[in-house]
């Protein structure tokens, strides 16, 4: 394993220390428990947006802490969900009294740990809400799986919901917007190479010189299927069509009732895309694929969307939600309405994404 790291046990901590010295104007890093938070937190009167997950997806989430996006991010070990004490301490640090929204990617580990954290925060009298991001169309059903994984839409949600929080949305409004963004977004990813978890020291899976994995998550896990290498156009068309033609998706999610102080379940169904929809298109590198290749993908994606009657009105192209040094990419399409576009265009100033600031 060749990486720019020192001792394996220090990888995440040292990367966070580097962020702290690089961006003191944007963020601070707290250790034991570990969380990254806005330099100016808590922001008076503002609902705090907090996310987190395993490390190895940089710039997400820590790179999105700052004006217009996250108030705090909780990094776990590489590809391992953070722990409830991190989330709970982060929430306490950034809560202005207006409440805290946890944006949670749907992985069993993240969900169980954030649920525990929400219970702890609520017990402390913090108004809290958790919204799940589960947008990965490679996962077909929710009955026989842990449900769709949270992937590309997470980045778009952190930008859009973060801007709405900045604009003064209250906790309920923010939760509604976050839920909508999640239901409007769909993603799919593919891998050209595996990646090496530092603590493991070798690739999580082996891919042949002519093989690729389709329908991967963001943890270096094998995908939904393994196929022979194809052209960028073929790969892009196949993935774009699976996203665009994805039927309605239903699942039961748990959200927190602040009055009753307990979880309740609600059934959510995502509507499929329709001709005439305007979309934000996000072409993401898994980390090792250079941006130039993403433009070849975007070129085809634009054609496929046009053929299907979708109009791309905004785009994001680059490495934003990654799997260490994995080569590959993911495509996310997010149905855009006026509310979403307004907050997409709003300023953001973070280490990983800057808009109008």
């Amino acid at each position: 394993m060749k990486k720019l790291i020192n001792a394996i046990d220090d990888v995440v901590r040292e990367q966070l220390e580097g962020m702290a010295v690089a961006h003191p104007d944007l963020l601070k890093v707290h250790f034991d428990p570990t969380y990254v938070y806005r330099a100016d937190a808590p922001v008076a009167g503002k609902v705090a947006l907090v996310s987190g997950g395993g490390s190895g997806h940089e710039p997400m989430h820590g790179g999105f802490v700052g004006m217009g996006m996250l108030d705090a991010a909780c990094p776990g070990e590489v590809f391992t969900s953070p722990t409830p004490d991190q989330m709970y301490e982060a929430a306490k640090a950034v809560d202005s009294g207006a409440g805290v929204l946890f944006l949670v990617k749907n992985y069993t580990g993240d969900v169980l740990n954030f649920e525990t954290a929400a219970e702890l925060a609520a017990a402390e009298g913090i108004k809290v809400q958790t919204i799940l991001i589960d947008d990965d169309v490679a996962v077909k059903d929710s009955l026989y799986t842990a449900g769709r994984r949270g992937v590309g839409t997470t980045v778009l949600a952190e930008k859009i919901v973060g801007a709405a929080a900045e604009a003064g949305y209250d906790l309920e409004q923010l939760a509604d917007l976050a839920r909508k963004v999640n239901q409007y977004g769909r993603s799919m990813g593919m891998a050209i190479t595996s990646c090496i978890v530092p603590a493991a020291g070798k690739p999580t899976f082996e891919l042949g010189e002519n093989e690729i994995e389709i329908g991967i998550g963001i943890h270096g896990e094998p995908g939904q299927r393994r196929v022979d290498m194809m052209s960028a156009d073929e790969i892009t068309e196949m993935m774009a069509l699976e996203i665009i033609e994805d039927p309605g998706y239903s699942r039961t999610v748990r959200e927190w009732d602040n009055d009753k102080g307990e979880w309740y379940e609600l059934e959510l169904t995502d509507a499929p895309f329709e001709r005439g929809d305007e979309v934000i298109a996000f072409v993401n590198s898994m980390g090792g694929t250079p941006v130039a290749e993403l433009y070849a993908v975007y070129r085809k994606l634009d054609q496929v969307c046009k053929d299907k009657g979708l109009t791309i009105v905004r785009n994001l192209i680059g490495p934003y939600i990654t799997s260490l040094e994995m080569q590959g990419m993911s495509i996310t399409l997010l149905k855009a309405d006026d509310e979403i576009l307004k907050f997409w265009d709003a300023p953001a100033k973070t280490a990983g994404l800057r808009v109008g600031a």
Partner: protein, 210 residues
């Protein structure tokens, strides 16, 4: 009677076992997960070993609760809150106890399993750690009903856990990361079921040794 010292020895034994099996559990997780289960468990049990001296002289409930809280705040992943809940609930069941009868021990383990199921909402056959625990505790109870003592019951439990663990191999995962592989999860042994088996085995070895 299972004493407080045996509980402490059990946890120390578990630390050894998880250290020895760190690679193995991680490899199992690499096949159908994200290659970190052994690393997660090792990180957690190491923290427990740091904490243990500060509570080793307290009652069993206290020791188990501390173990659970430590795992929750150090393991992460799916297994963290699950094993954490297991020990916290077990600790509540053993509140203020200095030693455990064979029945007490069953109550502790059952309370722990109930916690795992409440948090994770896994069904039998979902290819999770639950599939090791269910047959294990059933066998324990059966042996107890046949008049067996704690060691005999645990021996049955470990056999049940081992069988449950092996029977996860043909299953298609419906919970956790492995469920994303669909049919590709078939043919691999579940890492969490394996660590649960190791956990029970460590307890048996401890009681047999004394």
């Amino acid at each position: 009677m299972t004493t407080r010292d045996e509980i402490v020895t059990w946890l120390e034994k578990l630390a050894e076992v998880l250290t020895e099996n760190k690679e193995y559990l991680t490899q199992l997780d690499a096949a159908i997960g994200d290659a970190d289960h052994g690393i997660n468990m090792k990180r957690g049990i190491d923290r427990v070993m740091e904490k243990l001296p500060t509570v080793a002289d307290k009652d069993i409930g206290n020791i188990l609760k501390t173990t659970g809280m430590t795992l929750i705040s150090s393991v992460g992943g799916a297994s963290g809150p699950l094993y954490g809940t297991f020990f916290m609930r077990g600790g509540m069941a053993a509140a203020a106890k200095e030693e455990l009868s064979a029945e007490d021990l069953l109550e502790v383990l059952q309370a722990g399993l109930d916690g795992i199921v409440q948090r994770g909402r896994a069904q039998p056959g979902d290819k999770t750690m639950v599939d090791a625990w269910l047959p294990a505790l059933a066998a324990y109870r059966a042996e107890l009903d046949n008049g067996g003592d704690a060691v005999a019951a645990l021996r049955a439990a470990v056999a049940g856990a081992e069988q449950g663990m092996k029977e996860t191999i043909p299953l298609q995962a419906r919970k956790g990361r492995a469920s994303y592989l669909g049919a590709r999860s078939i043919g691999h042994q579940d890492p969490g079921a394996t660590s649960s088996y190791l956990l029970l085995k460590a307890l048996l070895d401890t009681l047999e040794a004394s």
